[in-house]
């Protein structure tokens, strides 16, 4: 895009970081503190408001409510049934969700699982599929019956039999581990269907045929980073920040949020703000001491022989000099060399 508005550019030396911080921090009091947010009946519960904002800028390793948006490849995206089939493939089904009860027969070395036919139908599974899955997972013989699966074991050891039963009950029989509550929604503009699911198991979802890998998205910044790299983490961070604020109808210019996202990701890894992230990694001993853990920073500086470059804001305020931003960022450059020819001003 050609730039039309040169008149509206920022001026050199503008302390854009501080302005971004103020722009996000100042409306903080207008936000709601409520952790969870119900939007309509069907939608998934997500963290919102101040707790979500804090979670994002702190670079918390795992968000409280990870959510994945799964879009479908061009061919099938407007076909509700095909989308539903993919949703069923993704949705995690554990054995315990579809088993009514299970009975162990210790002398005959077998366990019988009675299946709930309604749940079975809802998950789109048959007892045969379940039997083969169990055989694959546990290396045991499994026999499919109508609405039941019988597992035969080699041992009479009661402890092993019981443990196997419990392990089978806890196992994921279909779908992707950690992905649940897959809900199909329709985009009102394009008419395409997409899936919203809890969890952040991106690599596994990508392997599901029919899923549009290019549009796969989760609100978990670290999962995006692991799967798609740092640029994608930056994008996710900015997008989530913007979403969190606009949800509370707080308007903040996207440039501020981009700056925060860039600051957190510019080193190539995700760094939070605060003591263990950006603030704790400043060069200046004085700046760190003035922030948090004063004594620790001074002691370490003394023992390791650190030198303060005096290039930041805090340390210059501490010693009473001009800050190196704005009008204070202007410096005088002078050619060194023979000064004898310079006439002295009388």
């Amino acid at each position: 895009m050609a730039k039309k508005s040169n008149n509206y550019n920022v001026q050199y030396g503008e302390p854009v970081g501080m302005i971004a911080a103020q722009s996000v921090g100042e409306p903080g009091t207008q936000m709601i503190l409520r952790l969870f947010h119900f939007a309509g009946i069907e939608a998934t519960v997500t963290t919102s408001g101040l707790p979500r904002l804090a979670e994002l800028v702190d670079a918390k390793k795992r968000p409280t409510t990870p959510i994945t948006y799964v879009y479908i490849e061009d061919g099938a995206k407007k076909d509700f049934e095909k989308v539903e089939a993919i949703a069923k493939k993704i949705n995690e089904v554990k054995m315990q969700n579809i088993v009514r009860r299970f009975v162990e027969n210790f002398p005959k070395k077998r366990i019988k699982f009675f299946l709930n036919s309604q749940e079975l139908e809802a998950a789109g599974l048959t007892s045969k599929q379940i039997a083969s899955k169990i055989e694959k997972l546990f290396e045991v013989e499994a026999e499919a019956e109508e609405d039941a699966v019988t597992v035969r074991l080699q041992t009479t050891n009661m402890k092993i039999i019981r443990n196997t039963g419990v392990r089978i009950m806890r196992s994921v029989i279909s779908g992707i581990e950690g992905v649940g509550k897959a809900i199909i929604q329709q985009d009102k503009k394009t008419g395409e269907y997409f899936i919203i699911a809890t969890g952040n198991n991106l690599s596994a979802i990508m392997d599901v045929p029919g899923v549009d890998k290019y549009r796969l998205y989760t609100n978990d910044v670290f999962a995006m980073h692991k799967q798609f790299g740092i640029e994608s983490a930056r994008y996710t961070l900015a997008k989530e920040l913007m979403h969190t604020l606009s949800e509370q109808s707080i308007t903040v210019d996207h440039r501020h949020l981009l700056l925060i996202a860039d600051a957190m990701t510019s080193s190539g890894t995700i760094k939070g703000i605060g003591r263990h992230g950006l603030s704790g990694q400043k060069n200046s001993v004085l700046a760190r001491a003035a922030y948090e853990e004063t004594v620790k920073h001074l002691i370490n500086a003394a023992a390791f022989g650190e030198i303060d470059p005096m290039s930041g804001v805090t340390e210059n305020i501490l010693v009473g000099k001009l800050i190196p931003l704005g009008t204070g960022s202007v410096k005088l450059a002078m050619k060194s060399g023979d000064t004898s020819k310079v006439k002295k001003n009388k």
């Binding site: 936000m31 904002l53 700056l259 003035a290 001074l298 003394a302 022989g305 501490l318 190196p324 009008t327």
Partner: protein
């Protein structure tokens, strides 16, 4: 007190530097400790050093090959030295983690000495194979470490030696650091640090005597231990593992670490925050006739604050004239060329008048037109400090225009504000060019107008520009006179003047503007309001009209428009008389009918859901249990009730109802307020976001509710309104909701305050460099082009508008 440490009492002469109290900077002394002790704050570093080096030969526990690999990996650090802050890089994190593995090494790769099991017990105890190490032993070990090995460990041997971490001399700060105070009773009270030093000296002497007298080892060890304790608590009285040293009264002593730490510590209290002169503080109040960029300063304050007046050849006449005055605008002090300051008094005024010459600086009282900085705390954003022009007024409060309250978040219920007078010409110039109010009409947060009219001002404009507003000649002349416009618009047939035409005269000449609002289109053509009515959308915070004016006519015209139109608006509300009383909230029969119908519908729907749930016929939502599904469905139903009420209210618009008019103009009150007063209060919230559940084990909130009732009214759905009054149960539920929101408010302020502090600390060094990139204090690249397009968020609305217009 030893006078060689410096003097603080007036009249005494320092025995070290020979200066008096005012000029003596203080001098450090030292205590020679008979036995060395460990500096407790460094014990973690000592532990790290002991872990990573051989206890016999002092070499690092890496073999030569590993050392080479390590050096190759971290060559940059080792060669460049430690001045560029590499210590906190990721590289050095790797460095420390590989060094941490060394503690499990059994044998030194250099001398082959078996390494004993090292144990550290805080604060100062070290053991090898469960034998306690004496501080002098530790010092010997640390001394042996080679300089080249120290570099690998991240220590710059030029700056610090590890053996210094064990103390044999203790530095004694000068008296300036620990002044003693003389109480009223004449008793001298010493500083906490002095007390601690006294303890150390006393134990040190006792230890010395005992050693010289050849006392048994046990006694010497005990005293040594005691010396260690006193030195430890001298540095940090909150060291974990030792009891804090206490004053006789039981108050724990404030020693060195306590002086520096925390919000009230030296760093955050005295160094990050500074106290200033040339400032004033008083209560603020409104004055609609003061310009938005002015501040009314009480004469009392103006006559105490001063501005420097630099005497030159060209203004010496003016200087003498000011100096000769005995009343208000006069000179308070004279600073002569050698920097000596003299008070101007009636007795020496004549003499000073003769003395004054170019080069002198006169300290003049604050006068009209001086530039000052005006601030209200909490200073959450840069608009919390703006530059105003002084207007000296009688009475005792600062006066500001109502339009400028928003950036300060000020109101007039007793708020106080601060005023600072920039002294140097540079500071005044910066304030003038960067901080004046007119430069900050738009917020840097989103580019929306923040210096705007609101509340009564919008009500006034709304009534003035309504289609059926006609003014008599007197009224029109009165309003325009206030605006400083001395010609009347064209009257209509009846000799009346249209309100819209009066408004048009306030607009800049030739303005063209169009916007769609909730109250119909708003069209200005060639500086005349053709269509539409002024509401919050066109005149309040975040409007586009101001953007358009500022873009086409500049900040000065916009400032004048805001000022003039707000005066007219205020005058017109006064003229028109807008009153709000209880009758504004009395629902008419139609509304009452609607209310009953909506409540009935809602309750019916909810009870049928409850029935379905009880008969187990309820279709559960995906991923939720039956009970949770019911809960969510009921909440959704109750939200529907609220929006139904809103629809009913807006259908029953009453042009004579001032409260409703204000809501439509956007000046005060919203639909929810009206709903709660005339319809019903609705569902009361809880902290968790669900319905109110706390109460008896039978699942009821109050004993007046049937057990296990899961209907709306049993869990905080209030069907009564403020006009008719709340039923006792509803009042209780409303009380629960109010309490929750009060708790919220407190939590929110503390948490958002901390978030803001962390954000600003992390981002404060970022600035736009002359190559358009954003960099931090260490010149690390954050963004290659600020925001991707270099556009200043303050003018983002301008840029958008320009783009739209050029299409």
């Amino acid at each position: 007190m030893d006078q060689r440490l410096g003097v603080i009492d007036p009249g005494l002469i320092c025995k070290t530097c020979g200066a008096r109290a005012k000029t003596c900077p203080g001098h450090f002394g030292h205590i020679e400790l008979v036995r060395p002790v460990i500096h407790s704050e460094f014990s973690k570093i000592i532990y790290m050093l002991l872990q990573t080096t051989c206890k016999r030969c002092g070499r690092i526990l890496l073999n030569d090959e590993q050392i080479e690999i390590f050096k190759a990996k971290n060559r940059e650090i080792l060669e460049e030295g430690f001045d560029s802050g590499h210590i906190h890089d990721e590289q050095s994190e790797e460095q420390t983690s590989s060094i941490k593995k060394l503690k499990n090494l059994k044998k030194c790769p250099h001398c082959g000495e078996a390494q004993g099991k090292l144990r550290f017990s805080s604060p100062t105890y070290f053991y090898i194979d469960e034998r306690r190490l004496r501080p002098d032993e530790i010092r010997d070990m640390l001394e042996k470490i080679d300089d080249s090995d120290l570099r690998i460990l991240g220590i710059d041997p030029e700056a610090s030696k590890p053996s210094w971490l064990v103390l044999s001399l203790l530095l004694v700060p000068p008296v300036n650091v620990r002044p003693s105070i003389t109480l009223e009773s004449g008793e001298r009270s010493e500083d906490d640090l002095t007390h601690k030093l006294v303890d150390i000296i006393r134990i040190n002497q006792r230890l010395d005597q005992n050693i010289n007298a050849g006392a048994p080892q046990i006694i010497i060890d005990d005293l040594w231990e005691l010396l260690q304790y006193h030195v430890t608590s001298y540095f940090n009285n909150e060291t974990s593992g030792i009891p804090p040293a206490r004053h006789r009264s039981g108050r724990s002593l404030k020693t060195l670490a306590q002086r520096l730490k925390g919000k009230e510590g030296r760093f955050r209290y005295n160094l990050s925050g500074k106290r200033v002169n040339y400032s004033a503080r008083t209560v603020i109040s409104v004055d609609p006739y003061i310009n938005v960029d002015e501040v009314g300063v009480p004469l009392e304050i103006a006559s105490k604050l001063t501005v420097p007046f630099y005497v030159t050849n060209w203004n010496i006449e003016k200087a003498k004239e000011l100096l000769s005055r005995t009343e208000y605008p006069t000179i308070l002090n004279i600073v002569s060329k050698d920097g000596k300051r003299k008070r101007v008094l009636d007795i020496n005024r004549e003499d000073l008048l003769k003395e004054v010459q170019p080069g002198h600086i006169l300290e003049r009282q604050l006068m009209d037109g001086d530039i000052v900085l005006f601030n209200r705390q909490p200073s959450l954003h840069r608009l919390s400090i703006l530059a105003h022009r002084v207007k000296v007024l009688p009475d005792k409060t600062f006066r500001i225009n109502f339009c400028v309250t928003k950036p300060y978040n000020a109101d007039f219920d007793g708020d106080e504000m601060n005023l600072h007078v920039p002294q140097s010409l540079e500071a005044q110039a910066e304030a003038f060019y960067l901080m004046e109010v007119k430069h900050h009409i738009f917020s840097p947060r989103d580019g929306d107008a923040i210096i705007t009219n609101s509340e009564d001002g919008i009500t006034g404009m709304y009534f003035l520009t309504k289609d059926d507003t006609y003014l008599t000649k007197d009224e029109a002349a009165y309003l325009l006179g206030i605006a400083g416009i001395y010609e009347l618009p064209k009257p209509d047939k009846n000799g009346k003047y249209k309100g819209k035409d009066v408004f048009s005269l306030l607009l800049p000449k030739g303005l063209n503007f169009e916007e769609k609002t909730k109250r119909g289109d708003f069209v200005i053509k060639n500086g005349i309001l053709q269509k539409g009515v002024v509401t919050k959308a066109t005149y309040g915070g975040g409007n586009r009209l101001f953007v358009k004016i500022a873009m086409d006519y500049g900040e000065d015209v916009l400032k004048t428009f805001i000022f003039v139109s707000s005066k007219v608006a205020d005058a017109y509300v006064t003229l028109a008389g807008v009153t709000v009383g209880v009758k504004e909230y009395a629902p008419n029969s139609k509304l009452q009918e609607d209310r009953e119908r909506i409540i009935q519908e809602t309750l019916n729907n909810a009870s049928s859901m409850v029935d379905q749930y009880k008969n187990k016929k309820l279709e559960p939502l995906l991923g939720y249990t039956m009970r949770d599904s019911l809960e969510r469905m009921i909440i959704a139903e109750l939200n529907v009730a609220r929006s139904k009420a809103e629809v009913s209210l807006s259908k029953n618009e009453d042009p004579t109802n001032s409260a409703m008019q204000m809501t439509f103009a956007g000046s005060r009150g919203n639909m929810l307020n009206l709903e709660q007063m005339t319809m019903f209060l609705g569902q009361q919230a809880t902290l968790s976001g669900g319905r109110i559940k706390r109460g008896y084990y039978t699942g009821r909130v109050l004993p007046h509710i049937a057990p296990n009732d899961i209907g709306p009214t049993a869990h905080g759905f209030v069907t009564t309104n403020f006009y008719m009054g709340l039923s006792p149960i509803d009042l209780f539920m409303h009380g629960v909701g109010s309490r929750v929101s009060e708790v919220y408010k407190y939590l929110l302020i503390t948490r958002s305050g901390y978030l803001y502090r962390r954000l600003s600390n992390a981002l404060q060094d970022f600035y736009v460099t002359s190559d358009e990139s954003v960099r931090d204090a260490n010149n690390n690249l954050i963004q290659t082009v600020y925001g991707g397009d270099l556009i200043n968020p303050v003018s983002s609305q301008f840029a958008e508008l320009e783009e739209k217009e050029s299409e």
